[in-house]
Amino acid sequence: MVIVLKSLSYNLVNKFPALLLLFVSLSGSSIIDFKIISINILYIVVYFWILRKPDSLGYGFIFLAGIITDVVHGFPIGSNPLSLLIVAGVASYIRVLTVRITLINDWLSFIPALLISNLTYFLTLIFSDYSISYLYLFQSSISTFLFYPVLWVIFSGIISLMRS
């Protein structure tokens, strides 16, 4: 019984990022929106886990979460998976290049990931003839970048939990 429980809790903790990604996208809360702050949680989750523990988060899950977000929010299907996969791609590339893991390294390398993915997002929405507020997209990028360290600390705690 103890072994089964331990195995269950191990699996649950190990699958945490994938479950979180699916939950956030299905519940439609991928963007946490306060007055002028809007944080894109999906970008942070994908970037952090692909950078730090890619075994816990498959690209298939990221793709699926993107599709669900598109459907729930009414965007052209394919726009969110593309931008999320680009975030994952940049994170994967940074992981190959870097040796030391520090918050500053992770945080600074998050800038190109955000820039490239938001540019792609912007282009796909233009291609699909959707009007969006560019100012909002810019605000969202800034807020997401500023909020990254908060989730970095929480997720690092979860990784320690996984290892223990």
Binding site: S38, I67, V72, G89
Partner: protein, 281 residues
């Protein structure tokens, strides 16, 4: 120089092209699949539409189930607030009732007069108008899109472009129809442009959403005579919506902001106008 280019190539290949030990799909393959999906979204084919409708219906139901805990929490909080403000509400409703009673007789006379004038003008009158009521399944307003998901779709003869009402007030139009669900684009959305008429001046304009709760009037004539509090109705100019459905009133003349008659964030049920109009000859 060659070495660094070589390093870049190795890192790039390793990051994008190779699958990790636990990865089932290659990143680059999924990127191409996403691009393909974006292109497919622009193609209207019957099998593709069926597939899209099915996938969307499944995801909406899943999202509905996931949203239950947060909905329940919101409901509990709103119930507590309702109980706290019960006495104040009672007083307000009592006063409003007295005021409305006084206006009823005047309104019925105006309705009668309006119908007679319409007949005289040989205007298009709606002989029968089917209203389908639907429940709001999801109201996930993203910062970019203000829309609702309702629980009726093609199964109730709902079609793209139909007007959606909250009670009798216009709140948006259908933009995406699935088998058992549809998406309503609200008037507050950035992509929403509705032809309207302002009473009593009779000026025509376009009501444009901006992503917030205050849409604005655009393309008003230069010498317009609108005032604060003027009523705004659908004009029916493009032939999409029937004319005379109330939307809101002018809130600010300088910025041409409009106050909607319905509280967009508080909608649980909507009416969809499936109109059958016949020209009066």
């Amino acid at each position: 120089m060659n070495t660094s280019r070589g390093d870049f190539g190795i890192a790039f290949r390793s990051a994008l092209l190779q699958k990790g030990t636990q990865q089932r799909f290659s990143l680059i393959a999924l990127v191409f699949l996403s691009i393909l999906l974006i292109f497919l979204e622009t193609i209207e084919l019957k099998p593709l539409n069926y597939l899209r409708s099915f996938a969307k219906d499944v995801i909406y139901r899943g999202s509905l189930i996931i949203s239950y805990p947060s909905k329940a929490t919101k409901y509990i909080f709103s119930e507590i607030n309702d109980h706290i403000s019960l006495l104040d509400d009672y007083e307000a409703i009592k006063n409003e009732n007295i005021k409305l009673k006084n206006e009823v007789s005047e309104n019925s006379y105006l309705t009668l007069e309006n119908n007679q004038l319409k007949k005289l003008l040989d205007d298009q009158i709606i002989l029968s108008s089917n209203i389908v009521s639907a429940r709001v399944m999801l109201d996930k307003k993203s910062p970019y899109l203000n829309s609702l998901i309702i629980n009726h779709g093609g199964n109730k003869d709902i079609k793209n472009g139909m007007a959606v009402l909250d009670g009798k007030n216009f709140i948006g139009r259908i933009v995406d129809v699935n088998f058992f669900s549809s998406r309503v684009l609200l008037v507050t959305d950035l992509n929403s442009k509705i032809p309207v008429i302002i009473e009593p001046s009779g000026n025509h304009a376009i009501l444009a959403g901006h992503g917030n709760n205050e849409p604005t009037l655009q393309y008003l004539p230069k010498n317009h005579t609108i005032k604060k509090g003027d009523k705004i109705f659908t004009s029916g100019k493009e032939g999409i919506f029937s004319p005379g459905t109330p939307i809101g009133e002018v809130l600010n003349i300088n910025e041409k902001k409009v106050l909607l008659l319905s509280e967009i964030n508080q909608i649980t049920f909507v009416n969809i106008k499936i109109k059958k109009s016949i020209k009066n000859k």
